[in-house]
Assembly symmetry: C2
Homo-oligomer: 193 residues x 2
Amino acid sequence: MSKKRIRDIRHEELIDAAIQAIAEHGYAQVTMTDIAKQAGSTAASINYYFGSKDQLIQAVMQLVLRTLKAANLRHLKMAETPYDRLMAGLDANFDETLFTSATCSIWLQFWANAPYHEGLARLQRVNRLRVTSHFRAELRQLLPENRMATVQQALQNYIDGVWIEAAMNPGPVDAKAARLEARRVADLLLKGG
Amino acid sequence: MSKKRIRDIRHEELIDAAIQAIAEHGYAQVTMTDIAKQAGSTAASINYYFGSKDQLIQAVMQLVLRTLKAANLRHLKMAETPYDRLMAGLDANFDETLFTSATCSIWLQFWANAPYHEGLARLQRVNRLRVTSHFRAELRQLLPENRMATVQQALQNYIDGVWIEAAMNPGPVDAKAARLEARRVADLLLKGG
DNA sequence: AAAAATTAAATGATCATTTAATTTTTTAGC
DNA sequence: GCTAAAAAATTAAATGATCATTTAATTTTT
């Protein structure tokens, strides 16, 4: 409970506030003051903790990626067969902790800005490679080589598309329904209609 | 060749320049001066023609949507059966005139900003509904009711996902390969592997 | 000559970041 | 437990940069 604590608490609070504020105003338009207001703080204070707006943004992205990683681990724990592990990977992407209105908005903002921001681009690349390699590992055991790559890309692009749709739709999203639908799509791709 | 002409030529030139400049710098960071430089003109001149940055942006979006519509018509002309018309819809989305690095970037920028910009949001909504209704019309004749909605959403989200991937990848895109891959995915969804 | 097109420069607004204080919390000696 | 010095946290205000847009001329086209 020493000095470390307050710093950590503020970091969390400010990142949460940034997520809300970015989702509300958009990456392009959100100001330090918007974020500060959301946190009940001031722009100067955010700079005191994060050094710059840019470093705060990177911290936000890292938190979202950690959330995805955690969801993955959680869902994989319960999976045994390659098929179950494939589905666990899908479920993780539509987990309640991740597949929310605010997070989908944030994710879309990061996609759009990564090409112009090396820090974001790096994080995106690493994440995408991790997801790709997971899907490939499982699909390799379920499908012949030639179909594997197609299904893997189809699934990954499908996931991204659903995230976009969620980000564009106002109102809350239904994570459970998204998981069911994703499984249906995967089954069609694997076994056909 | 009256006064109408010059105005139209400048409009086209400036919209083209805007596409290049937005793709290069990003919607969030692109300035009137960036766009003007790309067109060999000045910021003041753009305002003379378009009134404001905002109206220029809307004009860019409208051009991209017109391009998609035109590709659709072109591909549909050669299609007779529901299956062919479905595939034509896919082909249109990956047509050489549309599926380019710059256009995919622009599209992603518009997705990201639509939630905070009613003009863009309206255009996106209208376009998405049009695409949805096309796919549903064809799929209705190819699949039982219960599978139809799943396949339609899977295809549409897949397309969006491919566009994102193209926007994030530096370097040129391969429209022909994208069309082949999209057809493979559609076939898997329709008939299974 | 009149109209249209173009631009350099001015304007005014917005912001991230820095500075210079002030307030709050922690630490250490008694 | 108490207190004062030190450290950390907080903020209002200043700074300086960036930009969209407007203005007021000038140049080009009709």
